[in-house]
Amino acid sequence: MSTDTAKSWNRYLPPALRSWRDAGIILPFAILFVTLSITSQPFLRKTNLLNILDQQSAILIIAAAGALILVSGAIDLSVGATYALAGCVSAQYAIKHSVLSAVIVGLALGLLVGIVNGIIVAIFKINSLIATLAMSFVIGGLGAKITKGNLIMLTEKPEYGKIAQSTWLGVSSSIWLMVGVIVVLGFLLTRTTTGRYMIASGGNAQAARLAGIRVSLIRIIAFGISGMAAALAGIIDASRVLSASAQLGGTLAFTVLAGIVVGGTSIAGGQGSVWRTVFGVLFIALIGNGFDLLGIDPLYHQIALGLILLVAVGLDAWGNNKRR
C-alpha cells in the first residue's frame, strides 16, 4: 500500500526532482555552492576548494565505504577508533621501517578489525550498532595502550609525509587517493555482483539468502572494506600532519554517518549510493567552510548541522513510510 496522498504535490515539481532520493542532495548542494560563491570572495579560489577536498579526503574515504555498510543493512561505529589505531600503528611502524611496509601494516590492521566486526555481526548475529560500538571501545583501548597516551611524532621520518602531501597536476595525493577510493567503491556498488549482493542483503536478507547469496560473507566483505577505508584515512591524516594520536577520531563515526545520511542513503538498508554520499559529506563541509569564511559564530554551525541531519533522516523516514 502506498499512501501517495502526500505525494500529490509532487506533480508541481519538474520530473527530475520528483524523486528526492535520486536528485536529493544535488539541489541543496548546488544552491549552497552558488550562494557561497556569490557571498564570499575567497570561496571560489582554487586553493580554498582544494583545501576543502584535502581536509575532507579522510572523511570521504570512510564515508564511501560507510555507504556500502549502510546499503548492506548494517552500521559501523568503530571507524573512528580504527582510524586512530591504524594511524598510530602505521606511524609507529614507519619510524623503524619503510613507508610502504608501514602503509601495508596499517591497511592490514584495518582489514583485520573490519573482518572481526563483520564476523561478530554476520556470524554471531549481534546487532551491528552495538557490536561496532563495543569494538570501538576495544580498539580505542588498544590504541591508548600501544601509544601509552602519547603523540607519535614522525618528524624524523619526513618520507611518510609523501603519502598524502605529494602533488601531481597541482593536486595533492590525499585527494587523488580519495578520488581513487570513491571511484573504486562506486564502481563496486553499482557495477559488480558484490555490490548488487550488498543491496540485496540490506534490502531483504531472507530473499537474498533464498536467491543463493552468501549474506554473511557479503556483510563481512562490507565491514572489511570499511575497516580498510578507516585505516587508509588514518594513514593519510597521519601523513598530512606527520603525527598520530590514539585520541583522534572520537566523533568521526558520527560525522561520516551524517554525511552518508544527508547524501540520501537509507539507514534502513537496501539502497544508497557512493557518489551521493560524496555530495552529502561535501555539503556538510561547505557549510563549515562557509561559516568560517563568512565569520559566523561556530555555535550556529553546530545547530545548522543538527537541523540538516534531522531533515535528512526525516526525509528518509518519510520516504520509507510512503512506500508502505
Partner: protein
C-alpha cells in the same frame, strides 16, 4: 465507528502514476448490501480503484460519493470514519504482536490508556466465534502462515463493524476450506446489509458470491453486469479482450525412459518426516495438502533452506552436500517461494535487478556485471514471462501483485534449473496469465525440466501435474497418478490420511 449506510458511487475517476494511466474515467455504482466484484487482468487497476475508495490514494480526477453525497478521503482513517475498511492485497500485520492484539490494533479496549487484556481476549473470542475462524488468541502473528495472517486481517476489518468492506484477493492465500468459510462470512455480511467489494481472480468464486460484477481492462471499465446474467467464458473474454479456450494446456507426459532427476531419500526436516519422492525429467509432480500440512516445509527442505535431520537429496544420483540454498541452486534446484514479499522480492529495486539476482554470476566476468548481457537476458526472459510494467527499471513495489509474482517466476527460471519447485505459482495471477504460466511450466517440462508444483488450488494441481502426492501432517500420505488422480481421492487423503 459511525455506520453510514448507502450506495457508493465512483464518478469518472482517473489515476495515473508518473504518466502511466492506472485508471481512466471509471464510474461504478455499488449498491448498499451487495457483493460487488471487480475482475480484470493483472495491472488492470483493481487494487488502485480499491485504494482510491478506501482513501489510500487520491484520484487525479473524479470523485467518490456515498448516498449521493460527494466525499473525499485523504487517509484511510477518514474512509474508516465513513465505515469503509480495506483488507489489502499485501498483508499488513504486526509480526511481534499476538493474534488478538493484531485484530484489535488501534481499537483496543482501554481504560485510562491501559489496555484491558482480559477484555481484549474476550472481544476477540466473541468475534472469532461470530465469524467461525478458529484461532489461538495468544499466538504471535509473525509465526503464522500467510493464510492465517490473512484471516487476521479479515477479522480486523470485521471488528470495525464496517459498512463497506473492500477485500483485495482475500482468498488468494487460503485453503479451500478456509476460502469456503470466508465465502460464508461474505454472504452473512451482505445479508446483514454490509457492502462487500471483492477483488478476485477466482472467477467461480466471483460468480458464486457476487450480486454485481464490474470488469476492468487496462484501467477502463468494460462492463458492469448482474452476476446472474454472466458466466466464466464471458468474463474471461471481457477481461482479456479475447477468449482463452481451455484453462489448462494439454499434458505432455514424459517419455518412459526419462531419467530420474531428483530423488529425495527418507528426508526428515522441520515439519517434514520420512519423505521419499522422485521426479523424472519432464515430469510435473503436484503436491497437494491442506494449508499447514507441510507442503512448503517440504519445498524448503529440498531447497536446503531448513535444517535437515536425516535423509538425503540427490540430483542425477549425486547427493547434495551443501547446507544452504546456494548449494541447492548450484546443483540445479530453483525455488519459487510462497510469499513473494517476504521471501522473494527486493521491493525497492528494479524489475531487472530482481530478475537477475540469483544468476548474476553468469552475466558477469570477474565479478563485474555486464550490463549489456544483463539487459539482453532480462529482455529475453520477459518475452516468455510477460510483465506489465513501465520498463525493466521500474521498482517492483510499483507493480501490481500478479506482475510481481511473474517477476519472481522469471528469476527462478534465470538460473536454468534442472529441478524447479514452485510454491503457489499462480497466487494473485489473472486467468490469462495463469494459462501463460501453465503453458510455460508445461513447455519447460517438455524441455526436460523436473517440476514440483505446490498449490492450494486443487484444480490447478490436477490440471497440470502428471502425478500428485498428498501431504498431511508433514508426511506423504498418498501418491496418485493416472485415473486415480481425482479430486475426491486427493481430498480424502488430505483430510484422513488414508488412500
Amino acid at each position: 465507528m459511525t455506520k453510514q449506510a448507502g450506495d457508493l458511487t465512483v464518478v469518472g475517476v482517473s489515476k495515473s502514476f508518473g504518466g502511466v494511466a492506472a485508471l481512466t474515467d471509471v464510474s461504478i455504482t455499488v449498491k448498499q448490501g451487495e457483493v460487488h466484484s471487480l475482475v480484470g487482468e493483472n495491472g488492470a487497476g483493481k487494487s488502485t480503484l480499491g485504494k482510491i475508495i478506501s482513501g489510500l490514494l487520491l484520484p487525479d480526477s473524479g470523485q467518490i460519493q456515498i448516498s449521493g453525497e460527494s466525499v473525499s478521503f485523504r487517509s484511510p482513517r477518514e474512509a474508516l470514519a465513513h465505515g469503509i475498511v480495506t483488507i489489502a492485497q499485501e498483508l499488513a500485520i504486526v509480526p511481534g504482536l499476538t493474534v488478538a492484539e493484531n485484530v484489535l490494533l488501534g481499537d483496543e479496549p482501554k481504560k485510562v490508556g491501559f489496555i484491558k487484556r482480559k477484555k481484549l481476549r474476550k472481544d476477540f473470542a466473541a468475534l472469532a466465534k461470530r465469524v467461525g475462524f478458529e484461532f489461538e488468541p495468544d499466538t504471535v502473528a509473525g509465526s503464522l502462515s500467510v493464510a492465517e495472517q490473512q484471516k487476521i486481517e479479515i477479522l480486523r476489518a470485521l471488528s470495525r463493524n464496517a459498512s463497506i468492506i473492500i477485500m483485495d484477493e482475500p482468498t488468494a492465500a487460503l485453503s479451500r476450506q478456509e476460502a469456503e468459510a470466508l465465502h460464508k462470512v461474505i454472504c452473512d455480511l451482505s445479508k446483514a446489509g454490509t457492502t462487500v467489494i471483492l477483488v478476485s481472480h477466482f472467477l467461480s468464486e466471483v460468480l458464486e458470491l457476487s450480486d454485481t460484477i464490474s470488469v476492468l481492462r487496462d484501467g477502463h471499465l468494460v462492463k458492469t453486469m448482474p452476476a446472474a446474467q454472466s458466466n466464466q467464458e464471458e468474463l474471461i473474454e471481457l477481461m482479456l479482450g479475447r477468449s482463452l479456450g481451455a484453462i489448462y494446456p494439454t499434458k505432455i507426459f514424459p517419455h518412459y525412459t526419462a531419467p530420474t532427476v531428483l530423488f529425495v531419500n527418507n528426508l526428515c526436516a522441520g515439519g517434514v518426516s520420512n519423505a521419499w519422492l522422485s521426479v523424472r525429467a519432464g515430469e510435473i509432480l503436484g503436491v497437494a495438502g491442506l494449508v499447514g500440512s507441510g507442503r512448503s516445509e517440504l519445498a524448503r527442505a529440498i531447497f536446503k533452506d531448513s535444517k535437515i535431520h536425516s535423509g538425503s537429496i540427490e540430483i542425477n544420483g549425486v547427493r547434495i552436500t551443501g547446507k544452504n540454498p546456494l548449494a541447492a541452486l548450484q546443483r540445479g534446484i530453483s525455488l519459487l517461494p510462497e510469499s513473494r514479499k517476504e521471501l522473494g522480492l527486493l521491493l525497492e529495486r528494479s524489475i531487472k535487478e530482481n530478475i537477475t539476482l540469483s544468476s548474476l554470476d553468469r552475466w558477469s566476468k570477474f565479478g563485474i556485471i555486464s550490463r549489456r548481457r544483463e539487459n539482453q537476458v532480462v529482455a529475453k526472459i520477459l518475452e516468455k514471462v510477460l510483465v506489465k510494467s513501465a520498463g525493466v527499471r521500474q521498482k517492483v513495489s510499483h507493480l501490481s501483485g500478479g506482475n510481481q509474482q511473474k517477476v519472481l517466476l522469471a528469476r527462478t527460471l534465470m538460473s536454468s534449473p534442472r529441478v524447479l519447485i514452485v510454491d503457489e505459482p499462480t497466487r494473485g495471477v489473472d486467468v490469462g496469465s495463469k494459462r501463460a504460466i501453465y503453458d510455460l511450466l508445461t513447455e519447460l517440462a517438455a524441455d526436460g525440466l523436473a517440476i514440483i508444483a505446490i498449490s492450494s488450488d486443487l484444480e490447478e494441481v490436477l490440471g497440470i501435474a502428471h502425478r500428485v502426492i498428498v501431504i498431511r501432517g508433514g508426511k506423504i500420505v498418498s501418491e496418485l497418478s493416472g485415473r486415480a488422480m481425482t479430486e475426491h481421492a486427493v481430498l480424502e487423503a488430505a483430510f484422513t490420511g488414508t488412500k
